[in-house]
């Protein structure tokens, strides 16, 4: 069995290709960047799934993609690409494990929506109602932003996380808390 540090010629060529694409992406070449991320995605997914089981693995894949995007200025083209992206992915896995240890299992989007079964419909029904507008306005800014992006603007969790500059996991926690607070406020405002 080959050691971790021993790469096959195919892997070396692939790393070389990725290195060149990332260097081009740093110059603003969007096509090279998309090719890089598309090529990397299955490898990254396998890397994460080798360390994490369950639906949280895809969360970590997306968190890693966001981190790669935000850290792309730290890649130096004279250095290999593999250790760079693997360090980012490893940290994303560790962060999730630590977050689980701190506040229990990660909240899934499905669970977020289950917190208030009718809230999604209610948000649409009451889109402009004074009660909802007031309840939303009373939410802490980060929770309000998360609820608005997910439900009123219809973004995915990853897209919303990207928009506000946070991780998908953190955005889900904000939305989860926001939904709970909204539900309580809307229930309290009914006669």
């Amino acid at each position: 069995m080959p050691r971790m540090s021993e790469r096959t010629p195919g892997e070396s060529q692939r790393d070389e290709r990725w290195r060149a694409w990332m260097a081009a992406a740093q110059e603003g070449d969007a096509r090279a960047y998309e090719r890089l991320l598309r090529d990397l995605l299955p490898v990254l997914r396998a890397f994460v799934r080798g360390r994490l089981a369950g639906p949280a693995a895809e969360d970590v894949v997306q968190t890693t993609l966001l981190s790669i995007h935000r850290s792309r200025h730290t890649f130096r083209p004279e250095r290999p690409f593999g250790p760079w992206w693997r360090a980012i992915a490893r940290h994303a896995v560790i962060d999730l494990v630590r977050a689980r240890a701190r506040r229990g299992p990660e909240i899934g989007l499905e669970e977020v929506e289950l917190v208030a079964p009718d809230l999604g419909a209610e948000l649409e029904r009451q889109a402009l109602s004074p009660d909802l507008a007031r309840a939303l306005a009373e939410l802490p800014p980060r929770q309000r932003e998360a609820v608005e992006l997910l439900h009123l603007e219809g973004l995915s969790v990853a897209e919303a996380a990207l928009r506000v500059g946070t991780t998908p996991g953190a955005l889900k926690v904000r939305a989860h808390r926001g939904y709970q607070a909204l539900r309580k406020r809307l229930a309290g405002s009914r006669p």
């Binding site: 603003g28 998309e34 990853a158």
Partner: protein
Amino acid sequence: MSEAASERLVRELARDLRPVRRVARLRVAGLGAAAAGLLAAALALGLSGLRQDLGGLLASAPGFAALFGGLALAAVGGALAALGASVPGRDGVERLGLALLAAAAALGMVAGPLLWVLPAGAASPPWTRDGVCLLGALLVGLAPAAALVGFVSGAAPQRPPLVMGLAVAGAVATGALVVHATCPFAGLRHLVLGHALAPLLAALVLAAPLAWLLRRRLARSGAAQAP
């Protein structure tokens, strides 16, 4: 989240991609911090001068010498660990820095008991002098700290409080080393409180606020990078 969402995210990220300015090489950043530290040290030494019995103390008082070596190792180790931890994939540099810091801590542990056998007459000065030396270490450490924190802020540290703590500890250890070489006092309490603990105290006090500022900056730049 589904695999389709990951595919969408890839498209989002690639759309409207903006060029970025690469961070400096670690070697360049390290040399910059070292130059800043040497400049500050030269200035401080020019103002206060080396203690006259420095050579004698280093040769005859092993505790004093161990502390000197420990502070030197902490200065280099803190800086290397902070630099390595700021850039993904530079774990080797980070590990080397942490190993030097561990060696510095070990030397500090050794120095503690050895300091009891300081030369006769090496009494500790008034408590206020401990504060003066702490402040001196901080002031001399400002320049290398600015160089290190500047690099770290522009990079991508995964653990901001730890990285800031390492950067501050390394920079203030440089200052404490200069203080150790210039301060005319050599009493046990003074050497421990005013010199040896300066990097640790500074890191404990400054790491959290600096990390908070860094997180805010990273969050802002993260949002600004969003397509």
